[in-house]
């Protein structure tokens, strides 16, 4: 798998009286956690990278290629949402298979990849269940399996484990972390829990007021007291 170096160069986005401006680089094979208060622009950052929002200025590069104007499907990106990652009327297997081909035209080899991915996230026995018959954690595992078969070098996680209990959240975090080490996929994860960042992410960005205030190695960032607003956010 090729490793992406993600660059946001003066990327701007405005919505009514609210605006953001991002300008940072991300090394290849990095696991970046994004923390910060509500409304700081964390989700907007992911939506801009994934192509769900169009910036009104600036450029986005992945692996040196400009992707600013590409449609979501053409970007080397998979994004997991907090909810509704699956089609509710399709079984787990079909949902994962859609990651290979949106018309469900799968070769035998593709089928094997789908089965392997489902096994990798520990759902092998639940192949033909509908999303409604799975638990919340299992649904997110299925979404991770689809990200695996899509095999995109950049994985964006928009608080995908926020709705899960503490134990399940830790399990999921370990799964994602293991996959990060196995495949070298670059991960950007928005989270409300600083502990998630400490546990899994090599780097952490503190976002506030629509921009990245600081981006540093996680272990260093959390002990710094020269970052405006960070201490207040962590205390809260």
């Amino acid at each position: 798998m090729t490793n992406v170096q993600l660059t946001l160069s003066d990327v701007q986005f405005a919505y009514e009286d609210w605006s953001v401006r991002f300008d940072f680089k991300l090394d290849a094979a990095c696991f970046l956690a994004v923390i910060g208060p509500s409304g700081a622009g964390k989700s907007t950052l992911l939506n801009l990278i994934a192509g769900f929002e169009r910036p009104c200025g600036g450029h986005i590069f992945a692996n040196g290629d400009e992707i600013t104007d590409l449609p979501p499907a053409a970007r080397p990106v998979t994004m997991l949402f907090q909810e509704n990652n699956l089609f509710h009327h399709l079984d787990l297997h079909t949902n994962v298979a859609l990651g290979v081909s949106p018309a469900l035209k799968l070769t035998e080899e593709d089928q094997k990849r789908v089965a392997d991915a489902i096994a990798r996230v520990g759902l092998a026995s639940k192949d033909h269940r509908l999303p409604g018959e799975l638990s919340g954690g299992e649904r997110q595992r299925a979404a991770v399996a689809r990200a695996l078969v899509r095999d995109k070098p950049l994985l964006l996680l928009d608080e995908p484990f926020a709705a899960l209990g503490p134990a399940l959240r830790a399990d999921m975090l370990n799964l994602v972390s293991d996959i990060h080490h196995e495949t070298g996929v670059t991960i950007v994860m928005v989270t409300h829990h600083p502990d998630d960042a400490r546990r899994a992410a090599g780097h952490t960005a503190f976002v506030a007021g629509g921009k990245v205030v600081e981006l540093d190695r996680t272990d260093l960032l959390f002990v710094r007291d020269d970052v405006p607003g960070l201490r207040a956010y962590l205390r809260a």
Binding site: F52, P71, A73, F81, E83, H88
Partner: protein, 522 residues
């Protein structure tokens, strides 16, 4: 509740007794005419449903995909046909599609001699599609709007082409929504009276309800009327049960609240198709409405308003409507009080819903015409039907309005009960004092709304009055039907305008009352 029971079971008993007294029921049942009528009823309803729902699919899809100025207005427009008195709609359809109507005129101008005949199956279908295409569109659109935003983002991330979107997102939504919409529309078409009476009615285009009317008013053949009424009753019963089964549950899924851009908006073919679907549907709904206004403009409104017959009809309609609406409210009040007394303990709260639903569907199973036919047969032997007519019409109109009144008042009353029941109990507030101090202030606005709906329904009704109306007892729709039947179309159009303004005025008035409450609530 007892009163409703008596009215309905008396009519039912009359039907059954008369049926039992028929000497040779086999003869009646094997009557070829009878089965032709039943066949046509189902045939026209099936075709109407197929056309309405089938055409609604591309329209819904286009409306779900596109956002444009005027979209809200269009959806408002689509709510209009069902609110219009059926006779007014028929008039509009004739003005547009009739022999001397706009469509044939345009065709002739372009050199095509189509001579589209609006009387018969064609006209019935046109009118039913006019009613139900907008209804189906609105019903289906609700389901499309429930697709979570993440789904569209997922689709664009996976790079789904329009065909895959249709297969994995749109079709499953439709598949879940179609049975409910289709069965409701089929039901409406099976019980459609006014449209078939005015546009059909010939030997080849008569439905069961119209046949009942003809049997009673023209052929004086109560036996045939009773047989038909029982068939209609059985048919409606089966349909209501079947429809109840077909309406699937809708799961509410939490999702990002924002509107999300769909990935399938580019592409010229899609744009063209959507534009075409929206334009044609808009024209189809808009033209008859415009035609009514145009025709009304032609009519001599001044002369009509001065006519004694018109004034009489307006006064009669108003009196009947007020009485029916008040009676309907009284019945509902009794029903709600009975339910409240029955389920004073929380444990059987679902009783409430069940009772409300049951009385609602009772009226569906027992259409007004059937109810009217029962009373017609019952009273025939004891009294002069036409002196009893006002009372019967009022009672049946009140019953017709019952499901609507219940739907407005039921939830409000339940909420009021949930809010205040324990407080009232602890303060010892009960009976008249509770009604005066607690219930009346809370329920005043819903009551006004329910009253207006019930009145509008009664004022627009042609079904029962067609059975019981006479020279001495003429309501606005009855007068309109007479003018229409004697091809005084301009008069009819003028009356239609008066009728429409009257109905909408009532509803608008009630809406204002509701609006005031919402504003003062903030």
């Amino acid at each position: 509740m007892a009163a409703i029971g008596i009215v309905i079971s008396a009519a039912f008993a009359a039907l059954v007794l008369t049926a039992a007294s028929i000497e040779s029921p086999v003869d009646t049942l094997s009557d070829a005419y009878l089965w032709r009528v039943v066949r046509f009823t189902l045939w026209q309803a099936g075709l109407s449903t197929l056309l309405s729902v089938g055409l609604a699919i591309p329209v819904t899809r286009a409306l779900a995909r596109r956002r444009f100025t005027g979209r809200r207005f269009l959806l408002g427009l689509f709510a209009l046909p069902l609110a219009l008195p059926a006779l007014v709609v028929v008039l509009g359809v004739v003005e547009v599609w009739g022999l001397t109507g706009w469509f044939n005129g345009l065709a002739a101008m372009l050199g095509a001699d189509l001579r589209l005949n609006v009387y018969g199956l064609m006209g019935i279908l046109l009118a039913h599609v006019f009613f139900n295409l907008p209804l189906a569109t609105r019903l289906l659109l609700v389901h499309f709007d429930r697709v979570p935003g993440e789904t569209w983002r997922l689709a664009s991330q996976l790079g789904m082409p329009p065909r895959a979107i249709w297969r994995f997102i749109e079709w499953p939504v439709l598949k879940a929504a179609l049975p409910g919409a289709a069965s409701l529309i089929f039901m409406l078409c099976v019980t459609s009276f006014t449209v078939v009476l005015t546009l059909g009615g010939g030997p080849g285009a008569t439905t069961i309800e119209v046949a009942i009317y003809q049997a009673l008013r023209f052929d004086f053949d109560p036996v045939r009327a009773v047989t038909l009424a029982l068939i209609q009753l059985a048919l409606c019963g089966v349909l209501v049960v079947a429809a109840g089964r077909m309406v699937g549950e809708v799961q509410a899924v939490p999702s990002i609240g924002k509107r999300v851009v769909r990935p399938d908006l580019e592409g010229r073919a899609g744009r063209l198709g959507d534009g075409l679907a929206i334009t044609l549907a808009t024209l189809f709904v808009m033209l008859p409405l415009l035609a009514i206004v145009a025709a009304a403009g032609r009519s001599e409104l001044g002369r009509l308003v001065g006519e004694a017959a018109v004034w009489n009809a307006v006064v009669t309609s108003t009196l009947v409507a007020i009485s029916a609406a008040m009676l309907s409210l009284l019945l509902t009040g009794g029903l709600l009080a009975a339910v409240r007394a029955l389920c004073w303990s929380r444990s059987n709260e679902s009783w409430f819903e069940q009772a409300v639903q049951a009385s609602g569907s009772l009226i569906l199973v027992m259409p007004p015409i059937v109810l009217g036919a029962g009373w017609f047969v019952l009273l025939r032997s004891y009294a002069d039907i036409f002196t009893m007519a006002p009372a019967v019409v009022i009672v049946i109109n009140a019953l017709m309005a019952l499901p609507f009144v219940l739907r407005v008042l039921g939830p409000a009353a339940k909420q009021a009960d949930l809010d205040h029941a324990r407080l009232c109990a602890s303060l010892g507030l009960a009976g008249w004092n509770r009604l005066r101090l607690i219930d009346w202030p809370v329920l005043r606005r819903p009551l006004a709304l329910a009253l207006a709906f019930a009145m509008a329904l009664s004022i627009g009704d042609l079904g029962v009055i067609a059975l019981f109306g006479s020279e001495d007892f003429t309501t606005l729709p009855f007068l309109l039907y007479q003018r229409f039947g004697t091809y005084r179309i301009d008069d009819a159009a003028g009356l239609a305008l008066i009728l429409t303004v009257y109905c909408f005025g009532l509803i608008a008035l009630a809406d204002r009352v509701r609006g005031v409450r919402e504003r003062s609530g903030k």
